[in-house]
């Protein structure tokens, strides 16, 4: 190989120190390393010949061995490639067409204290004049994509999402899912259906879920006192018992079941209790997420958890999850993932249809009165003519919300995995700018991800333990 001084540290690689120790993180090869001060001086400045020449012969050979290894991983590169390694450009990318999301109804039997969609406050249900043109467009696009060789995957999925509780319109729900399966099967595709639900459904819905192999993601915020306070029925009655009953039934049916726990300031100290509850129920995964202060959460007396408390409790739950064999997840926990250019499909790739016939890319932006609608609404269904009217310029603008354009993230170690964090939360915090990540979430993500990198580098956790949760999730 070339001499050590011919190389530089790839700009994509981050080095940071914590509590007197040094760590290296390469997002591409997903390399996590702890290094001492002496070696750090070479890794950060491998082209410093004077430094190298001061070493003993044995240590020079050790440096060469490390250098060879780092070159193999792309962590060291030749300087002439440094200008390229951080660049990314993308053009001519088509709208995502293997995944369709329908918001069935705004009706809801719960009145959650923080509901981002003000679910149940008005009652609007999707009509055939709305969902059928969307499904027509979806399968027509899949079909033409297959003919033109643009669609390589034969897997198509339908998500039934919130804004209300979809099982409140069970007859319609069954009709939509049946139509999706039939059309996909007729085209020789492999369909799957997932649904976000509050978990208060009855036994007939449960049987339908099992018989139709519907993946479900159920919201449960924690122990009874928390769940019943934050997620009561509209009548005020508690919801904990019915939700945990339905979770148990899914587990009994052999399902790998996950919950989404929205964390407020009053729930943050119950996260460990939630893990124990998950163990009792036989759950496979817990997705913790700090509450969004939008919708009812903006006006009600719920507050975001203290970020440091959330971090500490999350990290404790992560380690506890390894003991209990429960995957623990947070949307900003990205350091074990492969590189992404986008935080989520809201950046121009989702196709989500609201009951009003609006087409949005973001699961959190459903109401045309929401100021964020001007960013995330990318079209409207013309129900009279049965047509999808898409704003291609808006889609392309959202498509530009990728890592390379996130100026605020240029120096962040997590930029290739986090990709600027949640664009809707970026928009909502203070200045209504898609390109300014919410510092509250950045603080949480930085703390959690750095600690996980450290744990893996130091051997506190093992590679086999860092698999991303493989259970169904609607939130990415």
């Amino acid at each position: 190989m070339d001499t050590i001084t011919d190389f530089i540290l790839n700009p994509r690689v981050s080095v940071f120190s914590q509590e007197g120790r040094n760590y290296l993180f390469d997002p591409v090869s997903r390399t996590y390393a702890s290094i001492n001060d002496t070696l750090l001086s070479f890794i950060t400045k491998p082209d410093n010949a004077d430094l190298f020449n001061q070493l003993s012969g044995k240590d020079q050979q050790d440096v060469r061995d490390v250098t060879k290894r780092l070159c193999q991983l792309g962590i060291f590169i030749q300087p002439e490639f440094a200008g390229r390694s951080d660049l990314y450009d993308r053009s001519g990318h088509s709208y995502s067409m293997t995944h369709l999301t329908l918001f069935v109804t705004t009706k809801c039997n719960l009145r959650c204290a923080y509901c981002y969609a003000n679910g149940g406050d008005r009652e609007k249900t999707i009509t055939p004049e709305i969902w059928q043109p969307a499904m027509d467009y979806f399968f027509a696009t899949i079909g033409s994509g297959m003919v033109n060789g643009e669609t390589g995957s034969r897997h198509v999925s339908l998500s039934i999402h919130g804004g209300g509780e979809p099982t409140m319109e069970f007859v319609l729900l069954k009709e939509i899912v049946s139509a999706f399966y039939e059309r996909a099967n007729a085209m020789g595709l492999q369909p799957s259906v997932g649904m976000g639900t509050n978990g208060t459904y009855n036994d007939s819905v449960h049987r339908w879920i099992i018989e139709n192999n519907i993946s479900v993601n159920i919201s449960l915020d924690g122990p009874g006192n928390i769940q019943n306070r934050l997620r009561p029925f509209r009548s005020g009655k508690p919801s904990f018992d019915i939700v945990t009953h339905n979770l148990s039934e899914l587990v009994k049916a052999g399902r790998r079941v996950s919950i989404r726990a929205t964390i407020t300031d009053e729930a943050v100290d119950t996260m460990t209790d939630t893990m124990q509850l998950a163990k009792q129920l036989g759950l496979a995964a817990v997705h913790f997420e700090p509450v969004s202060q939008t919708g009812r959460g903006e006006t009600n007396t719920v507050a975001r958890p203290d970020p440091e408390k959330f971090v500490q409790n999350f990290l404790h739950c992560f380690l506890l999850g390894l003991q209990l064999n429960i995957d623990v997840y947070y949307s900003g926990m990205r350091c074990f993932e492969h590189c992404h250019q986008r935080f989520c499909g809201a950046c121009g790739r989702n196709l989500c249809i609201t009951p009003d016939g609006n087409i949005t890319t973001c699961y959190e932006v459903l109401d045309s009165n929401d100021p964020a609608a001007k960013e995330f609404f990318v079209g409207k269904i013309d129900s009279a003519r049965g047509l999808m009217m898409l704003d291609q310029d808006r889609i392309e603008q959202l498509n530009q919300r990728v890592t390379k354009n996130m100026v605020a993230c240029k120096a962040c170690f997590l930029r290739y995995q986090c990709a600027g964090d949640c664009p809707a939360k970026s928009f909502r915090h203070l200045n209504r700018d898609l390109y300014s990540p919410d510092p509250y979430r950045c603080r949480i993500s930085e703390r959690i991800n750095k600690q996980l990198i450290i744990w893996l580098a130091d051997g506190i956790i093992e590679p086999r333990e860092v698999k991303k949760t493989s259970v169904f999730s609607l939130y990415n």
Partner: protein, 80 residues
């Protein structure tokens, strides 16, 4: 003169594609545009000069390759 054994590193790599990386740290095999999680494109951020061929979304056969790659390529390197 620095003493022996002063150089210490403990390094875990989840995607060791070192055999296929070229001098740029980019997979020599990559034929996609770098935005999908398939085996060939993961080692890179910069798009290759070749025509985009990969339109996968990480499902089906690509997911199988993804899983195989993940299991096969986790490596460990330690010194000192």
């Amino acid at each position: 003169m620095t003493n022996k054994n002063e150089l210490k590193i403990r390094m875990v790599t989840l995607d060791d594609h070192s055999l296929s990386n070229n001098a740029e740290g980019i997979s020599a095999k990559c034929t996609c545009d770098g935005d999908c999680p398939t085996f060939d494109c993961r080692p890179q951020i910069t798009p290759c000069d070749c025509d985009p061929q990969c339109n996968c979304d990480g499902n089906d056969e690509d997911q199988e390759r993804f899983n195989k790659g993940k299991k096969k390529h986790a490596t460990f390197f330690q010194m000192g």
